[in-house]
């Protein structure tokens, strides 16, 4: 007896596999396409500087946004308090660097990098602890109620912004880069800021680490499954709540770390840093597809590159360029670049 057609490896299914793959690589190549397009209108050495700045900005935005996307994807929670973790991360990093001036000023690459690692670790730790407390005290009572979530988490953001002057004063605080991360190096004819290179390497490490955890560990598998169908994960016998707390704390810690890197990028921070950057992180999550880590990464690159290219070509349009980018992507792909669920 012949097996029914639907059981055969029919061409329709193989075609579907290839369509998914094509869509996948399309999203990956989009930042490259954007870069090449910009090269046609911008002189090479300027283009190279802008591209490196854009990629550096992009990966930092990714670090700040990654946790927000997973929290929304996994538990459908809108968390504006995420901006507070970014702000506190930046300020904690600035404070740590200020106290470690011996190491940051030293003519010793190892001490410089240790100072960089220390400020990042301190920022991540403080933000992680704040995240844990926020989830337990503020967010848990409003599970499943979006409007209340927005109200209470925006409240946390406002309170955090008002607390910053209490701890660190009302004037913008300088963030001192360790000596190794100052100045530029020449690659061919192109001057490249050292910190941007360090930021790119760090961002790629964070992204690679996240992808590895999500793809290769059981907890990663649970997170990806939970983003797609939380109820089914529970029906399989897993307590998704425990996974969620872990993701929330890790995401908050990453936000703090990203805040530290953002502070070092701009070298000057204000209390409104978190709420300003939060807009960018939300754009990245929406463009990438909520809950999708790879989507957020490529979306963040697009946002970083667009901001830099447009800032050079038409500075007056720079502010609106990210919103325009979001509109364009959503018209093309309403569920984002790499949607997490493909049911």
């Amino acid at each position: 007896m012949n097996a029914p057609a639907s059981l055969q490896p029919g061409t329709a299914s193989l075609l579907a596999v290839w369509r998914v793959r094509a869509a996948h690589y399309g999203a990956h190549l989009l930042p490259v396409a954007l870069g090449l397009a910009a090269l046609t209108v911008i002189p090479f050495s300027t283009w190279a500087s802008l591209t490196i700045a854009g990629v550096a900005m992009g990966v930092i935005i990714f670090i700040m946004a990654a946790g927000l996307g997973l929290v929304f994807g996994l538990m459908n929670i809108l968390n504006f308090a995420h901006g507070a973790f970014i702000t506190f991360g930046a300020y904690v990093a600035a404070a740590v660097l200020a106290r470690m001036s011996g190491w940051t000023q030293a003519d010793d690459a190892v001490l410089n990098l240790l100072a960089f690692a220390a400020c990042g670790a301190a920022a991540a730790t403080v933000a992680g602890v704040l995240g844990y407390a926020t989830e337990r005290i503020i967010i848990r009572p409003v599970y499943g109620a979006h409007l209340k979530q927005i109200l209470v988490t925006v409240g946390v953001l406002i309170v955090a912004e008002q607390l910053v002057p209490v701890f660190w004063g009302g004037v913008p605080v300088p963030v001192t880069r360790p000596a190794l991360l100052r100045g530029s190096i020449l690659i061919g004819q192109v001057a490249v800021e050292r910190y941007r290179l360090v930021a790119i390497v760090t961002g790629l490490l964070v992204y690679g680490g996240m992808v590895a955890v999500l793809a290769r560990t059981r907890i990663g598998l649970l997170i990806r499954a939970g983003v797609q169908n939380r109820e089914m994960v529970e029906a399989l016998g897993y307590r998704i709540q425990a996974v969620f707390i872990l993701v929330f704390v890790a995401g908050s810690a990453l936000a703090g770390f990203g805040g530290a890197m953002w502070g070092l990028y701009h070298e000057l921070i204000t209390a409104s840093l978190g709420s300003e950057v939060l807009v960018l992180t939300f754009i990245v999550i929406i463009i990438g597809g909520p809950g999708s880590t790879s989507g957020a990464f490529y979306a963040a690159l697009l946002v970083g590159l667009t901001a830099n290219y447009v800032g050079f070509l038409a500075p007056k349009l720079a502010l609106g360029s990210n919103i325009a980018l979001m509109l364009a992507i959503l018209m093309w792909r309403p569920t984002g670049l790499l949607p997490a669920s493909r049911n």
Partner: protein, 256 residues
């Protein structure tokens, strides 16, 4: 007058089996809707119970309430001698219940392999059992590394059932496995269910497909308006054209 849910089993099964799962006067509300109005049901160990009834009778709600996906607002659910009425879904599932929902609940962005790894809760799937499962559903092996989202409806259903049996479970809750599938595929599934049945797997299945219900069911429970109104062995049920017509609106004889 409806017969009690317990104690109407065939003589031999009444003697040899005990109820693995019992529902006593279970009520469920979803929002302001009152769906289950006091369900009494006993699922004997090692048998296949078919839950029949028209659309909206509360069959799916019954399965979901057993698993705690919707909370019973009254009554008692006992599984394996333990009161699970107020346990959380993961804890109920961990007692040994697998669930194949009506929408199959496939993780479309995960590969076929990852779907099965996740379903094997206690570690990497046992290779021999996995080989048996893939033998039941050859297409799953063919699409082993592909995202489950690209599978056809039939293949997704196979994956959903494979997920439920990749590790031995004490009870399978299966909701309309043949919905929307071609007759040839349904025949294949009947073969699979018969193999599970031969291994004395306890199954509670919601099914509208009479052919499948007759082919694999040991017992029948019929739901009307949120209550189990009739419970009998398949043999008794098949013989009772009057009950069939009254409760389901058709008679099995006419479909045979």
């Amino acid at each position: 007058m409806t017969p009690p849910a317990v104690g109407v089993a065939r003589a031999e099964s009444a003697a040899n089996t005990r109820a693995l799962l019992t529902l006593e006067q279970v009520q469920t509300h979803i929002g302001r809707y009152h769906i289950l109005h006091g369900v009494d049901l006993a699922i004997p160990e090692g048998e296949v119970t078919m839950l029949l009834g028209r659309n909206g009778a509360g069959k799916t709600t019954t399965l979901r309430t057993v698993l705690g996906l919707w909370r019973a607002s009254a009554g008692r659910i006992v599984f394996g001698g333990r009161d699970v009425t107020h346990l959380a879904t993961p804890d109920i599932a961990q007692l040994g219940i697998a669930y194949v929902p009506e929408d199959m609940g496939i993780f479309g962005g995960l590969t076929v392999r990852e779907n099965l790894i996740l379903a094997a809760r206690s570690g990497p799937p046992d290779p021999e059992r996995l080989r048996w499962v893939l033998g039941l559903f050859p297409p799953l092996e063919r699409f082993w590394g592909s995202p489950a989202g690209v599978l056809s409806g039939a293949q997704k259903q196979m994956l959903a059932i494979a997920r439920a049996i990749v590790e031995p479970r004490r009870l399978l809750l299966i909701d309309e496995p043949t919905k929307g599938l071609a007759p040839a595929v349904v025949n294949q599934l009947i073969g699979v269910f018969n193999e599970l049945k031969a291994q004395r797997t306890t199954i509670l299945m919601v099914e509208q497909n009479v052919m499948l219900a007759r082919a694999i069911g040991d017992r029948v429970a019929v739901m009307v308006d949120g209550c189990v109104v009739h419970s009998a062995s398949m043999t008794e049920f098949e013989a009772d054209a009057d009950v069939q017509g009254r409760l389901l609106g058709f008679s099995l004889g006419g479909q045979a």
